[in-house]
């Protein structure tokens, strides 16, 4: 049974210029209750890897540099 790869617009957006994950910060990844954020091997910055967001906001609220913004997922916007 082959699997399809479909695009999905994700609600959490990270501003790479502000993100300090490459300095050792893991705050947003740590606080996500759904564990959907990761630090990219390529860029060293945080990003939303899984589209499983409760739009609860700790990632944005706790980010020390204001790099994270949470949008309402399109399906319920």
């Amino acid at each position: 049974m082959p699997l399809a790869q479909q695009s999905s617009s994700v609600p959490v957006v990270v501003d790479d210029d502000k993100c300090i994950a490459d300095k050792g910060c893991t705050v947003c990844v740590d606080v996500c209750p759904l564990d959907v954020l990761r630090i990219s091997d390529q860029t060293g910055k945080a990003f939303m890897k899984y589209d499983e967001c409760w739009y609860c906001m700790p990632c944005e609220a706790d980010c020390p540099t204001g790099a994270v913004s949470v949008h309402i997922p399109f399906l319920l916007r």
């Binding site: 049974m1 606080v31 759904l34 990761r38 499983e52 906001m57 609220a61 706790d62 319920l76 916007r77």
Partner: protein, 579 residues
């Protein structure tokens, strides 16, 4: 990233607390405080810093029993009436007697409750009989303050471990739990003399009307794992047919929230801008009235604030948009909603299990003990009705303090290596398939079926059909589900919990052949309440043959008697206008 690796570790402890949301941290903290020598482990699927129902805080206490404003006796009566009498009062009374002390302790932790200009708790009257609402306009710091205490107490915290099954000894006593790491799929076996389950609601049972799997009323991490684990360990689960259904902002799936807006003069209205809810305390009856209005020509239902002064609305906005579900403000902006002008459309949530708002939970007595020796439960997943956040804190404390004494009396129960091997095999099965159905599709289908067939009003034939469809979907889950990484493996395990909860929801609902608790258990083909046959709890469990079974359990004799005229206090208020 998230690669599946092999490995198993084992640790021993006196008390294992599973779930780091609200009740769990308090249980662990209190156990450690009472006996600093006890080894207490707090296990959490996410990270204790921001996990659970209150990850982003809470905007108020809905059930604070504070001297001078209400009494424990009054509160027990209110809860008994709101639950149509099906209440073992001892646990409710214990909560009511202890919760003020817990509020004071939380205040000392730095959790901020609304105070008047004299530093006294600024309790608001929202309900008809008692006064229980204590706002928390700065409640966004709850988890932060709580976590700070856990760190200071140097508790052992295991983040990113999802418990999958409880271990029991040959004598039926609790022996520990098995967990799997959500980032690398390594196993952790914890031997424990007592286990406290604080794993939250079954909030991913119904599907939100938006269709977004994670757009749930409850924190979407609360997938009912505690209910499923308690079931498989042989514990009794009480009144699961008493579903949770809550009012919310349509589409947004966050509370509206009447408890915040109420003290300011805001209320729930129909399309004519009129109040319509007759029932006083939050209950299934209230939700039935909400549902009726939604379905009527006066529907849908709205949150009405536009009669309030500008200054008042600004104050409400600050609270609603910064605490508990702060994306609420963003949602309203997208929709061009302004509380000053229009009313805000509301709806009812998907169904779930949650004693925090209703009564469906793992059965516990007034010491938070389940029917399995050494196994405790507290918070949204334990059967103490309507206990909300403060109940999770208070009953978590009860569990922790009782368990720490219990472990002095016992040694480790023997653990069954065969069981552990079988469980590892079950957990890893989806990782061994090269292709198959991903967990999100199994989950979507299961929850869509829950909506189609289990949402009240409940119909016998529909629920039987649900059981057939669930069985087919379960077969796909067990034989065809495939995952590619450890994160997806966590989701596949959650799907198994959701499936178990769906089965239990149908089974328990079919058992009680009457209607009770308003919309929560509204059975279209048994529309009347039948006190003669059904003034009792239902207790669902897994029998020795591994089959689901259910029985009646008498309601414990009341500690606080309810007068005849109080029993129908709400009915009397519900007299319709003649005009």
């Amino acid at each position: 990233m998230d690669e599946i690796t092999e490995g198993t570790s084992q640790v021993d402890c006196d008390i294992l607390v599973i779930g780091g949301g609200t009740a769990g941290p308090m249980a662990a903290y209190k156990a450690k405080k009472k006996n600093p020598d006890a080894k207490v482990i707090l296990l959490e699927k996410a990270n204790v810093k921001r996990s659970g129902a209150i990850s982003m805080g809470m905007d108020g206490l809905n059930n604070a029993v504070i001297p001078g404003h209400s009494t424990p006796e009054q509160y027990v009566k209110e809860i008994t009436v709101a639950n149509d009498g099906i209440v073992d009062q001892a646990a409710v009374l214990k909560y009511a007697e202890n919760c003020y002390e817990i509020i004071q302790e939380l205040d000392n932790f730095g959790i901020r409750f609304q105070k008047d200009e004299n530093g006294d708790f600024d309790v608001k009257k929202v309900h008809h009989i008692g006064t229980y609402v204590l706002p928390m306009p700065n409640g966004d710091t709850v988890k932060k303050a709580l976590y700070r205490q856990l760190k200071r107490a140097r508790l052992l915290i295991s983040n990113r471990y999802m418990a999958t099954r409880l271990l029991t000894g040959k004598d039926g006593r609790i022996a520990g739990a098995i967990a799997v790491n959500t980032r690398n799929a390594e196993f952790l076996v914890v031997r424990a003399k007592a286990v406290i389950l604080c794993m939250g609601a079954a909030g991913r049972l119904g599907l939100p009307t938006s269709g977004y799997l994670y757009g749930t009323y409850e924190n979407a991490a609360n997938s009912g794992d505690g209910y499923a684990m308690a079931y498989h360990a042989g514990a009794g689960l009480a009144n699961l047919e008493c579903f949770q259904i809550n009012p919310l902002i349509k589409d947004y799936n966050g509370p509206a929230c009447a408890y915040v807006a109420g003290p300011f003069g805001g209320y729930t209205a129909n399309n004519e801008g009129m109040r319509f809810i007759e029932c006083d305390y939050w209950s299934g009856q209230m939700m039935q009235e909400f549902y009726n209005e939604l379905q009527s020509g006066k529907g849908p239902v709205f949150l009405k604030l536009n009669h309030l002064a500008d200054e008042t609305i600004s104050e409400i906005e600050t609270i609603l948009h910064e605490v508990e579900r702060p994306t609420r403000g963003r949602f309203q902006v997208n929709r061009h909603n302004d509380y000053r002008h229009g009313m805000i459309e509301m709806h009812i949530s998907e169904i779930g299990f949650c004693s925090g708002h209703s009564a469906s939970g793992v059965y516990v007595d007034d010491n938070a003990c389940t029917t399995v020796p050494g196994l405790y439960a507290a918070g949204d997943m334990a059967s103490v009705p309507h206990n909300y956040m403060l109940g999770a804190f208070t009953n978590g404390a009860v569990a922790g303090e009782h368990a720490v004494d219990f472990v002095n009396e016992v040694d480790f129960a023997d653990i069954d290596e065969d069981f552990i091997a079988a469980e590892k095999k079950r957990v890893l099965a989806p990782t061994l398939r090269d292709d198959g159905i991903p967990p999100n599709q199994i989950e979507y289908k299961t929850r869509r079926l829950v909506n189609d067939y289990l949402q009240p009003p409940k119909v016998t034939r529909k629920m039987q059909l649900a059981q057939d469809r669930f069985a087919e979907t379960r077969e796909a889950m067990e034989n065809e589900m495939a995952v590619t990484n450890a994160h997806e493996l966590m989701r596949s395990l959650e799907v198994a919990s959701i499936m178990d909860c769906a089965d239990m929801a149908a089974f328990a609902s079919l058992f009680r052949t009457e209607s009770r608790w308003g919309l929560y258990h509204n059975r279209a083909d048994y529309p009347e309440r039948d006190n003669e046959n059904w003034f009792c709890h239902s207790i669902l469990s897994k029998d020795d043959a591994g089959q689901m079974t259910i029985r009646k359990k008498e309601v414990d004799p009341y500690v606080i008697p309810i007068d005849e005229d109080e029993k129908d206090a709400y009915d009397k208020q519900r007299i319709k206008a003649q005009a």
